[in-house]
Each structure stands twice: as C-alpha cells, then as structure tokens.
Symmetry: C2
Subunit: 576 residues, 2 copies
C-alpha cells in the first residue's frame, strides 16, 4: 500500500483550525489567494505525490543509489519522476514569479513537502535543499551569481547542496578546514573534503550547485571565520569543475538519496555574502529548512499510520474485550483495530500527526507573514514565533516520526519486521531526521540557551501570550491549556534564575524543557482542533487519545525541570 495524501484533513487544519486563507490574502503578494485556489493546488499536489512519487518508494529503498566510478545512479524511475516534478512547476511553488516561480504561500510548499516525505523520503531529499539554496542566493548572492543561478535553482532545473560537515566537524562547524583562496578574477579556489552531502552527486539534473562552507586564508579561527562559496559541478563553459564524489555511504535507510563524500580539488567558486560571514548567510534558510525536516517527521508518521490503520482494519486476531463490535459480523475473531492496545497506538499517533500539523502549518504561515507582512510589528512577531517554535517542532516531530512509526510497526506484529509491508522502511528512513539539520539535542540547546534565556524569557512569553489570546477560557479544555501555558511561563522564569547559579543547568534540562513546550503547544493545538471539529468523530478519538496518553508527559517533564532548578537554588554555590 503506497502512501496517499488526504487533502481534506489538511484543508480542515488550514481552513477551520488556522483560518489560513484570510491571513494569507491580507499579505500583498497573496491578495488573490483563496480557498478555491488552495484546494486546486492541494488536489494537484496530492495527485502528483500519490501517482508519481509514492510508487517509487519501495524500489528506491531496495535498489537504492549506486556509485560507479565517481558517478551516482539514482534508483530506476527517479529521474523521470524528478523531471515530472520540475515540469509540473512544483519546485518553484513558493518562489518569486521574478525568478520563474509561482509565488504561492510557503504554507502550501510545506504541505507539499510533508506529503512528499511521507510518500518517498529518499526522492524528496533531492529537491529538499533547493529552497534553502534559493533563499540564500536571493538574499546574499551577487547580481552576477543571481543572474546565472537563481532561476535555475528556483525552478529545480539544477539541484543544489549544502556542504557543511567535515569528518572532524559535525555539530562543531567552527572546526571546518576546507579552504577558499581568492583569485585575481574575483573567484575562489576551493579545496577540501566534505561528508554527509545529500545529493552531492546524482543523475537527476545536468548541473549541481554546491554551497560550500569554507575558510579563507586570512580568516579568524572558529565559526566567525567561515565563508560561503558557491561551487557548481559544471562551469559555464560546460567543463567539469574540480568537484568529485569519492563514495556514497551505506546507511540504515534513506537508500533513495545519495549521501556523498565530496572532494573539492582547486574547484572554482564564488563567494556568497561577505567574507567570514558564511554562517550568517546560511542561517537565512535555517528556519525554513528545519521546519521542512519537522514536516518530514509528520509525513513519515502519517505514512506509517496509514499502513497500520489499513492493516488493523483487515487483520483479525482473537475476540476484542467488551461489547460486541459491529465489525464482528459472523467472524470468530475481531479486527485488531477493535483491540484496545491497537486502538491506542492508532489514535495516539493520529493525535501527534494532526496536532503537529496545526503547529507546523501555523509556523509556515508565520514564515509567509515574516516575509510579506506590511506591518513591521507583525513581521517581528512572526519572526519571533518562527525562532522559538521551529527548533521545538524539528526535535519533537522527528522524534515522533521515528518512535511513532515504530509504534505503528508494532500493529503488524511479526509482519511489521519483514520488508513486505513497507512499514520497517518508514522506521529506518525516519531515524535520520532526528540527526541532520542539527541533532535534536542541539535543537533543545538552541531553544533554551540561544532563544529563550538570552532575553530572560521575554520572546517565549510573547509566544505564550499569542497562544493564550487565541483560546476561549470559557471552555474547560481551553482553561486547562491556559493553566499549562502559565506553568510554562513560570518554569521559564525558574530556569532563568537557576541558570545564574548554575550555568550548566540549561544544558542539562534543555531536552525536558523542549518537551514541556511541545506538549503545551500540542494541548493548544488540540483545543483549537476540538473547537473547530465541533464533535466530528474523525477528530474526537485522537483528541481523547492525546489527552489520555500523550499529555501526561507534560507534568512529568515540568516536574523534572522544576526539581533540577530547585536542586540548584537549594545549593547555590555548588556548580556556579
């Protein structure tokens, strides 16, 4: 069973829960955007993803990318599917019309990538980095570079990579050693080795544009001495640049995507942005890239859920306890969907998917507002939302993508562990997103140490007030969420105070703190869904499952962080 996007679910979240269309049409570039256009784009995307992308998932995993004499061959069908993707205009969905794009809202692109990841994570890796490269070049590229590369990248005619990691420099980019030596003609000669380069080499496009983090000869040490250099595989005269794929990694999953070791050998490149300001140029795309990774988690979890749900509605084993289910008929055994242990898995994972969608799509909307809002205050608020919420979603959604897919595998019993049903592939594929684009531990530190604490928790407070203001305190469920948001606010203050006494404390509680934030936001999301759904059974079972099985973790994590703070304040001199 291949993954099949379900636009109605997504439209409910966008329209009934988030009121996306009026928010979007208030922005100048989307003045004509309406739910009819939205529905049309989503229907088209669902059809394309379901018919073209999804059927290649299994063979993409089993055959995988092959490496031969410096070339990478993508799995059968990938090339044609990618061609169709480009011809359909999908890569350029949210790109500016000036660059050959369709100028649609980022939130539709977010939905498209969520679905594509659910359908075929490996193939989706290829265009996954286009958007970051596009934004990076658009904001920091010289006119000459933009002229040569921007529309090729916007339209997906050429694919792009981000070359950051080196063997000794993973999370610690300050250790990057690849060198860029300025030449008389304004170009740079780039030499060095990069690892874990997704799509570093492949046969999908005629050219590949690498954005390479490197160090110029006069650079200060550490992260403030890094520059970003654009290095194409093919030069303008159609000769091959000094860019070589040395090998591709054998991985746990994601076999449809080549993970390359790249060697740059006196390759010609051009600086993007200021010298030594490479990280700043890169960070432009950080929020949208991280949000896309969060959406991968949601997409993969939805793929796992669809498989488990379908299996549970077909497979019969033993009598379910309790009243006779309507589905029993004359059968001796009941559908496993009727067994409480299976029901719990399905409803709880459905709750994670739906709630995370509310948060993910809202964040994508905020990317649109941050870029196109005509009110500086609104842009700033949107920016703040993205800065705080993005690392939370990246960590929490990718973790759930993996753990939830593993739960869904459990629904299959022994059949889940064999290839046949495709569910084990989802688990293997999903694991990587907890690592790349900043490990989940680094997301937690980014949230607490870099985003929340430096301003004493005021940006976080701002986000919590926004959430509170959208609740209806006369509803019980909403009042419960308000209480949690207030608890989180107090907790933030406690951590900020304890951090003075014990500077390592934030690092010790960062993961728990992130979970508290995610669960508070999920509670908010489900309060909003619950109100919009108005008793519709499609949403009430996952809503109940969320409150019963997922939400209790909120109090647990809150208590863990609290106790850690109290321990420090009780013995203030101990770790200071």
């Amino acid at each position: 069973m291949d993954y099949q996007p379900r636009p109605a679910d997504v439209e409910f979240v966008l329209n009934a829960v988030l009121g996306a269309t009026p928010r979007l049409s208030a922005l100048a570039p989307f003045a004509d955007f309406d739910t009819a256009l939205q529905a049309q784009v989503l229907e088209g995307a669902a059809r394309f993803v379901g018919e073209v992308i999804a059927p290649l998932n299994r063979s993409g995993d089993e055959i995988g990318c092959r490496f031969e004499a410096g070339e990478v061959h993508t799995p059968p069908g990938f090339r044609a599917a990618y061609q169709a993707f480009v011809e359909g205009g999908w890569p350029a969905l949210a790109a500016s019309p000036a660059d050959g794009g369709q100028g649609l809202p980022a939130v539709l692109e977010a939905v498209l990538y969520e679905w594509m990841s659910g359908a075929n994570h490996g193939l989706t890796m290829a265009p996954g980095l286009l958007h970051g490269a596009y934004e990076c070049l658009r904001h920091h590229g010289s006119d000459a570079l933009q002229q040569r590369y921007l529309s090729k990248i916007a339209t997906g005619e050429w694919l792009a990579t981000m070359c950051l990691t080196e063997a000794h420099a993973g999370s610690d980019l300050g250790q990057v050693r690849t060198r860029a030596v300025p030449q008389a003609d304004g170009s740079h000669r780039v030499s060095g080795s990069k690892i874990f380069i997704s799509g570093g080499e492949h046969d999908l496009t005629a050219n590949i544009v690498h954005l390479v983090l490197c160090r110029m000869p006069d650079a200060p040490p550490g992260p403030k001495g890094l520059s970003l250099v654009l290095v194409p595989k093919m030069l303008d005269d159609d000769t091959r640049n000094g860019v070589h794929c040395e090998r591709i990694e054998e991985k746990m999953g994601l076999h449809g995507s080549s993970t390359c070791v790249m060697r740059f050998d006196e390759a010609t490149g051009w600086l993007v942005g200021e010298p030594h300001r490479g990280l700043a140029a890169m960070f432009v795309m950080m929020n949208s890239a991280r949000l896309h990774v969060a959406l991968q988690g949601i997409g993969l979890l939805d793929a796992a859920w669809q498989k488990a749900d379908a299996y549970a509605r077909e497979r019969r084993q033993m009598r379910a306890p309790g009243p006779v289910p309507a589905s029993r008929g004359t059968e001796a055994a009941d559908l496993i969907a009727e067994h409480p242990a299976v029901r719990r898995i399905l409803d709880t994972q459905r709750a994670w998917i739906d709630g995370a969608r509310v948060l993910g799509y809202r964040t994508a909307l905020m990317l649109d507002v941050a870029q196109h809002g005509d009110d500086a205050k609104a842009r700033e608020r949107a920016q703040r939302w993205c800065a705080i919420v993005t690392p939370v979603l990246k960590a929490a959604c990718t973790q759930q993508g993996f753990l939830g897919a593993s739960e869904c595998l459990q629904v299959f019993g022994g059949h889940g562990y064999v290839r046949e049903w495709g569910i084990e592939q989802v688990v293997r594929d999903a694991r990587v997103s907890m690592i790349y684009e900043g490990t989940n531990e680094i997301q937690a530190i980014d949230l607490l140490v870099r985003k929340v604490l430096p301003d004493g928790g005021s940006a976080m407070s701002g986000v919590l007030i926004e959430l509170r203001d959208e609740l209806d305190a006369s509803r019980d469920a909403d009042a419960d969420v308000q209480r949690r948001l207030a608890q989180l606010r107090y907790l933030t203050t406690s951590v900020a105070m304890a951090a003075h006494a014990a500077p390592t404390l934030p690092y010790e509680v960062a993961d728990d703190y992130l979970r508290v934030v995610m669960l508070a936001m999920m509670a908010w999301a489900w309060a909003r869904i619950d109100m919009a759904a108005d008793g519709d059974a499609r949403w009430s079972a996952p809503c109940a499952a969320f409150r019963r099985h997922a939400l209790p973790e909120f109090d647990m994590r809150l208590g863990m962080v609290k106790r850690a703070c109290e321990a420090v304040t009780a013995a203030p001199a101990a770790t200071a």
Copy 2:
C-alpha cells in the same frame, strides 16, 4: 569495535547485589557451586563470546542468510562458530548431567545468552530455542522420544525450532490449522504451513527438530484443540522427512538468522504430551524463553552502550559548558562525553542495563529455585515471582533495548546512521524482540489480565512484600522505594475494583500498569545496587541518572492508570 562482555560488572550484580552463590549452593544440585566456579565459567564464557561470536556480527548482518533451492546457507563463519559453541559444552551448560549437560544454574545460562545476544543476535537465535525444546521434551516427551532426541538437543548436536505461527494465526494460536493425522504405528502425519520459523532451515547441524503446533482430526476448535508434534528434518533411517523451507523473509535486521516459511507435507512426527494439550506442553518453557528474550534486550542495549561510550570518549566537538574538564588538556574542543546531553544518554542507558540485570538475574535464580528448591513453599514463591516478573521484563527490557539503542545511536550524530560504526545494526536487530515470544502488548495483558487480576492481586502483593522485605527502610532511598511499592499495591486494588465496573479497563491500562511495575522494580534494583556499591563511582552516575531521568515516569504512569480507574468508578454503568 566488537562487543566485549565485562564479567566484573555481572559478578558485582550476582555477588554483591543478589548474593547468588549462597542462594544457589542451598539447592541440592548446586551444593558445590561457589564464586570461584562461577568466575571461571563467566571468564570462559566472556572469552568465547568476545573472541568467537562477536567478530561475526557485522558480516552476519551484511551477508546474511541465503536461500537457494530449499537450502539455507548461514553467513561465513557461523558454522564453525556454532561447532565451537557445541564443542565447548555451552549449549548444555544448564542441562541435566543425565542428558549430557553440565548441570550448572540457569542464572549462568542467562548471563551467557545476554552476552551472546549483545555480541551477535543473529547467530544466537540458532541455539536460543534449544533450551525450550529441551525442557518441553524432558517434561512431556515419551521415553522413546527422549531416548532418541533429548541428549542430541541438550548438547546442541541437533538444533530445534518452535513452529507456532501461521499466516492467519499470529497472536491468535487458536486459529492454527496445520493438521496431524494419527497413524497405525503411533506416529502422526503432519501437513500445513508455518511462518516466522527462526532457524527452520540452515546448515549448522545435521538434523533439525521441529516442535509443531497442530490440530488432530477430532480436535475441538480453538486453543484447546491444539497438539504438539515433534517432526524431525531427517528420519532415523537418514531419509529426508516431508519438511520443506519455502523461502526466508527479508527483514529489517537479524539477517544472521533465517526466518523461514515452512511447509509440512505429510511429514512424520510424534506427539509430545497429551493430545489437544499442546499449549500446556509449550507453556513449560514460556517463562525461561521470555526471560531469554528480555536478556536479549539487555545484551543489545549493552552492545549499543559500549559503542556509544567508546565513541564519546574519542570524539571531540565544541567546548562543554561549565568547569574545565580534566580531559580537555590543550585541545580546543571537548570530548562529547563531557557534554551534558551525551552524558545523560550514556548514564541513563547504563542505569537501564544495570538495573535490568539485577531483575533479570534474580528471575533466573528464581527459575533455579522453582526447579530445585527442596521447600515446596520456596518453590511456589519462586514460581510466583517468575509468573509475575517475566512478562514485565520481556516487555520493558526489549523496549529499552530498542529505544535505548536508538538513543546510543544519537551519540554518534550523522555517523550513527551509516553502517560503518555498527550501531544502526543494533537498533535494527533489537526491534524484533519487542514482537516475538508474545508482543509486548500481549505481555502487558498477560501480566494484568492473566496474572494479577484473577486472584485479586494477591500474587502481585506477594511479590511486592518480598521486595519490601529486602529493603532497609532506615535508608532514605529505600524508604522512597517502599512508598512506591505501596502505591503500586493500592493501584492494583484500584484496577481490580474498576475492572468489575468496566471489563475492558484492564486492557486499556495494561501497558501503563506494566510500566509502573517495571519502574517500581527498577527503583528497588537501584536501591540494592546503591547499597552494595557503597559510593563506588562506577555505579553512582547511573544511579543518579536513573532517579533523575527514568524514575519520573513512575508517577506519570501511576497517574494515568489511576485517572482511568477513577473515570470508570465515577460512571460505573457506562462500559459495564
């Protein structure tokens, strides 16, 4: 880096924490057993596992078992390693000397299998089913069958399988259709198809003895009509029996073990035990088989931990927060082992391994007592312990084996996702143990619905009192554990009462209830370790990590079960 058993850690648990030797030497067959013999056996086992079994793990995964024209070829080296295993007398470690065994305690066999699973899960599957088959045959086989098969199986000269599952009958064995037709000579003709048969076919031994669950023509429907029939691959006259391997499964992991689809085609077999009493014959080996699966979880987690620990002591990334660690020296970046997020993973997983060992080895000791105790009361108490604790350990240790291995993978960052470091194999291999030998959801139901509730919680109370009596309430930590044990006792009563009003409730809370039991027992285990360790730093970091990061789940799950009970008692007629 291959897995390497560390006997000192295990001996500390056996001697200092559990006082195993005096308990064992009080049993007649082990009167001469002492710590010196124990140390000798463990040293020998550690050497054998480290030198012979562990080095084949990687190639066992990558090459895997191959299926060709009905034959299964195990990976290179497996045959020789298995031969060495047999020649070393390891399969017969705990078998009776009368059957060619060494008559050592089950607890040593438990340690051996934990280590072997950590070293090479795939290869360990082969002899993993021997012990169950041995016990089954010893208790239920006719004299003639015992004569022909018992010592061959005890010594591992022939391997054995359990043929239970059919395509439509997984957790629901009542649906088994394989037929056994009695013949005039007392034999049976067996026909039918079985799936998921571990080691159903291979090249390790000259014969393979299948214990097949089937249905005789006059059998009542459902699980009470199942009979157990022994069907050898080779008959006494050295002709091939009608037993065929149709294919082997492609799996997520465990590639070193063949998972076979077996067809029995008028195969000759002999009844084991009474007609229609096949399940009873099989249940003889259930506790020890489930305990071995729990130990697989511990072994695999230890393997993952060893890899992550070694990597974290070598890899340097960024400065750790807080005081300068001694390991910094003149380096710019610190060992990742110094970073709180990594430290937390390593210490918490270590805590699961050490605590679970205390519980696992104690349960193995109870298997020895249940079998050899000369006091009927003591035997009964030991039996009760095994009945209650085994499903808890099977579910909790295999879950931690998978989730904890995935945490350890995270320590490697991107390097964890590629094959090279071997950690992703551990995650893939570990996943299966949450499914087989009864899924973890079925363990939870077994615990609560079949073991705890039928006697109104009295057996569970008995176990809790045993635990309490071994605590020292004058110690703070022990008093905290006492409080938790009492909470669990009250909880059990609440569930029993609520179950009257709502018969489906136990099925809904079974997973949470099992977690409460596991965490209470883990708290007990760590109180015991803490007392025995007397401040030794080897044990104090995981002890602190357990209390800080793992134990808070106790209150969370307790609350979840409590609220579910309260909801039912508040509306007694709703689901009754």
